[in-house]
Assembly symmetry: C2
Homo-oligomer: 234 residues x 2
């Protein structure tokens, strides 16, 4: 039986550390998922790109700080801001923070882009070099988006208030990284009572116009079926 030390003493944690709140802003651009990066504000490293970040101000909570950082970088409030997790290994952060809290923020497609050469949307498969800590946070945010896709209305936050079912399916395909079957997708969507049709139609270019829908979840009917043993690799 190993020796067991007494429980940690209940003193305030005296050692204070530096903290950053970093936000991964995401929006679809065409058939690609893109993320917002800013040029470093450090005058010695103006050519480097960074995730938007800052330390919490004054009495702000970390959620407050994330909302502020997102709003400042984007010029408007995103549709959803959610925590991803804390990153406190020894990888480098642009501000030298000991611990960084990552947030993801979703921006509807077609929202006005921030102007100026200091801020730009990059496809997530073609990113410039980032500080290792921020690279890790970005990968974590992408994994979180995919994991939460069927738990929270992620896809609807990446679309304007009304959208076509093809747009919705494209967002799912974007996030899942695979093609979906059109008829099955619509059947499952109808069975879930998640969207309702508007009386508007949109004609884009050639084919038949598509009906516009809005996100309007009704109460679920029937419980979940089965247990998923997928994803239990090693």
């Amino acid at each position: 039986m190993p020796e067991r030390p007494p429980p940690a003493a209940n003193r305030p944690p005296t050692r204070r550390i530096s903290l950053s709140v970093d936000v991964v802003l995401l929006t679809p651009h065409g058939r690609r998922l893109t993320t917002l990066l800013q040029r470093s504000a450090d005058p010695r490293a103006r050519e480097r790109w960074e995730l938007a970040w800052d330390a919490p101000h004054g009495e702000e909570t970390i959620d407050d700080a994330a909302a502020r950082v997102a709003r400042t970088a984007l010029g408007a409030a995103p549709a959803l801001v959610e925590q991803v997790g804390a990153f406190g290994d020894r990888r480098r952060h642009p501000g030298g923070a000991d611990v960084s809290i990552a947030y993801l923020a979703l921006v509807p497609a077609g929202a006005p882009a921030p102007v100026g050469g200091d801020t730009a949307w990059f496809p997530v498969e073609e990113l410039p070099a980032l500080a290792p800590r921020q690279r890790e946070m970005l990968d974590g945010a992408l994994a979180a988006v995919r994991a939460r896709l069927d738990q929270a209305p992620i896809a609807f936050r990446l679309l304007p208030p009304t959208f076509t079912l093809t747009q919705l399916q494209e967002v799912y395909e974007l996030l899942l990284g695979r093609r979906l079957h059109k008829a099955s997708f619509r059947r499952a969507l109808q069975a879930a009572w998640l969207v309702e049709p508007t009386d508007e139609w949109r004609s884009e270019g050639r084919g038949r116009p598509a009906q516009l829908f809005r996100y309007a979840p009704r109460r679920r009917r029937g419980g979940r079926r089965g247990v998923r043993f997928d994803g239990l690799g090693g």
Copy 2:
């Protein structure tokens, strides 16, 4: 078009904050999920119970600190330690930490219990009063366990190396909070190639002895099917 402030200045986050790492240790006890609580080390509040927690020491990362806190509280290393998230609202933490990082730690059923009246396992439905921050972290850890059940081998970390299929199903029922169909459960398990039989059998009390299995995931065959629109409430 709203005025857009310049991006956050790239100065080190000078304001330093106090940080705690809090661990939610979980193990099944019979048909209940239980969590480890310790009596407060504060001599003025010895009757209060707390999650195990501490500030990171010296050069420790937050993952290191979580592993240490878990090992210290339990007297042995848990089977899995994973981050839940950061909690930095204004709710009270026992150590007055500005920000707390929650971890969950899984302990196999039947592992030796910590001795002494300062540490005890409580069923998660019958907890004593906790500091509001820690109560929030515990609820977050339980939600994370349920959410990750089909993404990571959570259930197997709550069981000894060999186990019966009934035990495994009981862990799933414990975490999901609902009964599962025995035949369906076993069919899905077999199709997923997650466990392999040993040549041992266990006789518990009355009925026919059950074969023991071990967790031995084989490579997946075939991709995921469909999209889940469950869980998209509102």
